[in-house]
């Protein structure tokens, strides 16, 4: 198994003819992801790379190809609309890579997606990869290795660093999920922890959080109550000043809340092994496996 995506994932790429969309669609095809359709309004009827049919709408793509997962690479100004469209077309898993969606738009998008029973990952995220099975998003496939560690992270390149540490020490991954750096996101740590806990092919979980908000603290509570598998955690932003957005829209210490120290303390109280630096991930995991 794995979580959220596997060999049965049938992917439609929204924005497949754009600069980012076409680049990453090729990467996903090369990785072996079943990219069954692309969508770009006005380019319906074309073929992408001579293999993937392009449609004008997601609904047409779903009717023709039974796509069950969508990945979104469209510009921020139309990304909320792309999520609405995917949810309306009956897509079960919507992964939004796009950065820069206004947070007030997201307050309207999320109830809509949930009412239709869909899951949104992101926005402003690198997507997911279940090594050897499927890759949806932009995580480089070559740094991953199939295995039994689940990773969930708010970051992009920091996740690659953690994956790199694991792979070079022979610890493969079941699924890596980048949940995104925005203040309002569709899938949070708890959703991923619950899925990894239920996944027979995941033995341990790595959680990579950062400053801002209370998601990590809530997740720590959930670990205490519901997670029996070993969990190792990291928080980025121990040296971040309060009141400044550290690149990610969600990475901000407001007043005295959302600090790295507060989150690390919550992890420790929940029995989560806390990394002081990314290189600690392998020794901490090996001690607990």
């Amino acid at each position: 198994m794995s979580i959220f995506i596997d060999q049965h994932t049938r992917l439609v790429v929204q924005g497949i003819t754009g600069r980012d969309g076409s680049f990453h669609a090729k990467q996903m095809l090369a990785y072996g992801t079943k990219v069954v359709a692309g969508v770009t309004p006005g380019k319906g009827g074309q073929q992408f790379e001579n293999t993937v049919p392009v449609f004008n709408t997601v609904a047409e793509a779903v009717r023709a190809t039974e796509a069950n997962t969508a990945v979104i690479y469209v510009p921020a100004s139309v990304a909320a609309s792309a999520i609405f469209e995917a949810a309306d077309a009956g897509i079960a898993l919507i992964v939004c890579i796009t950065e820069g969606i206004p947070v007030l738009d997201m307050t309207k998008v999320l109830p809509y997606v949930r009412e239709r029973g869909a899951r949104l990952v992101g926005p402003n995220c690198p997507g997911l990869i279940s090594p050897g099975k499927s890759k949806v998003g932009i995580i480089p496939g070559n740094i991953c290795q199939a295995g039994r560690i689940g990773i969930v992270s708010r970051s992009g390149t920091l996740t690659y660093e953690i994956i790199h540490q694991l792979t070079t020490h022979g610890l493969g991954q079941s699924t890596c999920v980048g949940i995104g750096g925005d203040p309002i996101i569709g899938t949070n740590f708890i959703h991923c922890l619950a899925a990894f806990e239920a996944d027979a092919e995941t033995d341990a979980i790595v959680m990579v959080g950062e400053i801002g908000g209370t998601d990590e603290q809530e997740a720590a509570k959930f670990v205490t109550e519901e997670v029996k598998k070993p969990v190792v955690g990291f928080i980025a932003g121990q040296t971040a000043p309060p009141g400044r957005r550290m690149g990610h829209a969600g990475a901000i210490i407001s007043g005295s809340s959302g600090t790295a120290a507060e989150k690390m303390a919550a992890f420790e109280a929940a029995g989560i092994a806390v990394m002081k630096r990314p290189a600690d991930v392998v020794p901490l995991l090996k001690k607990r496996l």
């Binding site: 007030l104 307050t107 109830p111 480089p140 740094i143 970051s155 007043g255 002081k276 630096r277």
Partner: protein, 380 residues
């Protein structure tokens, strides 16, 4: 993006919220003219993006127009938390019967706009929340229906017993909620919301932060940005498509990705250094961005070494290497540079660096250790 108080007051007024008179002045003479128009008895308030303006001497009461002019002369040009005051707000002093608080934030936990009201106004709402939490009511609003009249009314009664005042407050709350979506705010705050001795309810001071992601589609709001209120290197970084935040340390950091950039700063500290900055060159980096990043980092005289930490995904190692080489042709680096380069096009990047006489490391910890040692070496 934060707006100045005078800008926030204008926006609230345009959305039908009662705001007492007041106007902005850039010179002492303008301040005097405004004070004369308001009858002499005015408050002179520094317009600057920093809390604690009063304590810093940036808020003064004047009894005459001449006094207002003198205060404006003292306040304009004054530095508050490192920011130079360019403008002052001149407003007639008001008689106040009571002070309350009304604010709306986008709440991350409930993923909704949340209205917060408190009869304990005029002070920092975080302080109220910490000391007298029973004096705050919070209402998560369903964004599909907006703030419903009965919800606003019940919050109005939490503030005022008098039905007229409760109704006035409810009306202000609904207008404030509309303002939030209309301007794309992540926070709107009226603090204090006052009642005057004759019973009217007014927004005396306003704070408004706009979600940066809204600015592309709201040119009118984007035009309110006050570049003089920001650190010049941060403005230069934004124009180059970089995210840069200046810190107090001595190891200049240049990283791709926000999470990795924070983790790199933390690791600098872990190995005994202090980061001079947060800098994310972003995903699809081109050499020009790297040149701009180096120009900004080397402009800080406190930087004693420069650390690159690049984990190529979308970012390509050869692009970063070309940027570093190009930058050294355009201006001298003056301090040692330590480069960690791995991921996409790593080999091509390392080749480019070697030809130009640089070396690159593949491990993040090794690179950080070297950068900290190099910084301390040059400092000694």
């Amino acid at each position: 993006m934060n707006l100045h108080e005078y800008q926030a007051r204008d926006i609230l007024r345009r959305h039908g919220i009662p705001v007492p008179p007041g106007d902005v002045a850039s010179t002492p003479a303008e301040a005097r003219a405004l004070a004369e128009r308001f009858g002499g008895k005015v408050v002179v308030k520094a317009q600057v993006h920093a809390g604690g303006r009063g304590k810093a001497g940036g808020v003064k009461l004047a009894k005459t127009a001449a006094e207002a002019e003198a205060h404006a002369k003292a306040i304009i040009g004054m530095k508050i938390k490192g920011l130079t005051v360019q403008k002052v707000l001149i407003a007639p002093t008001a008689e106040i019967a009571s002070e309350s608080y009304v604010g709306i934030i986008v709440d991350r936990a409930s993923q909704r706009p949340v209205l917060m009201v408190s009869p304990a106004g005029g002070i920092d709402i975080e302080e109220v929340a910490a000391q007298t939490p029973e004096k705050i009511q919070r209402l998560p609003v369903d964004p599909r229906y907006g703030l419903l009249p009965h919800q606003a009314m019940s919050l109005g009664f939490f503030l005022y017993k008098d039905v007229k005042q409760a109704r006035a407050a409810a009306d202000i709350m609904q207008k404030l909620y509309a303002t939030m979506y209309d301007v794309g705010a992540s926070l709107v705050e009226i603090n204090p919301l006052v009642t005057t001795p004759d019973g009217t309810v007014q927004a005396l001071d306003a704070k408004l932060s706009v979600d940066d992601n809204e600015l592309e589609r709201r040119a009118d709001i984007a035009a309110l940005r006050d570049l003089s209120a920001e650190a010049p290197e941060e403005v230069a970084a934004r124009e180059a498509g970089l995210t840069f935040i200046k810190l107090d340390g001595f190891v200049g950091c240049c990283v791709n990705g926000a999470g990795l950039a924070m983790a790199t700063m933390d690791l600098v500290k872990y190995y005994g250094g202090e980061p001079a900055n947060f800098l994310d060159i972003g995903g699809s980096s081109n050499p020009q961005k790297v040149v701009a990043a180096l120009r900004i980092i080397t402009g800080d005289p406190h930087v004693k070494s420069i650390l690159f930490n690049i984990f190529g995904g979308i970012t390509r190692g050869d692009d970063v290497a070309n940027g570093i080489v190009q930058a050294t042709r355009e201006f001298p680096l003056k301090v040692p540079i330590v480069i960690r380069l791995t991921g996409t096009n790593e080999r091509e990047g390392i080749d480019i660096l070697k030809k130009a006489g640089f070396s690159a490391l593949s491990d993040m910890d090794d690179a950080v250790k070297q950068a900290v040692a190099a910084a301390k070496g040059t400092a000694a």
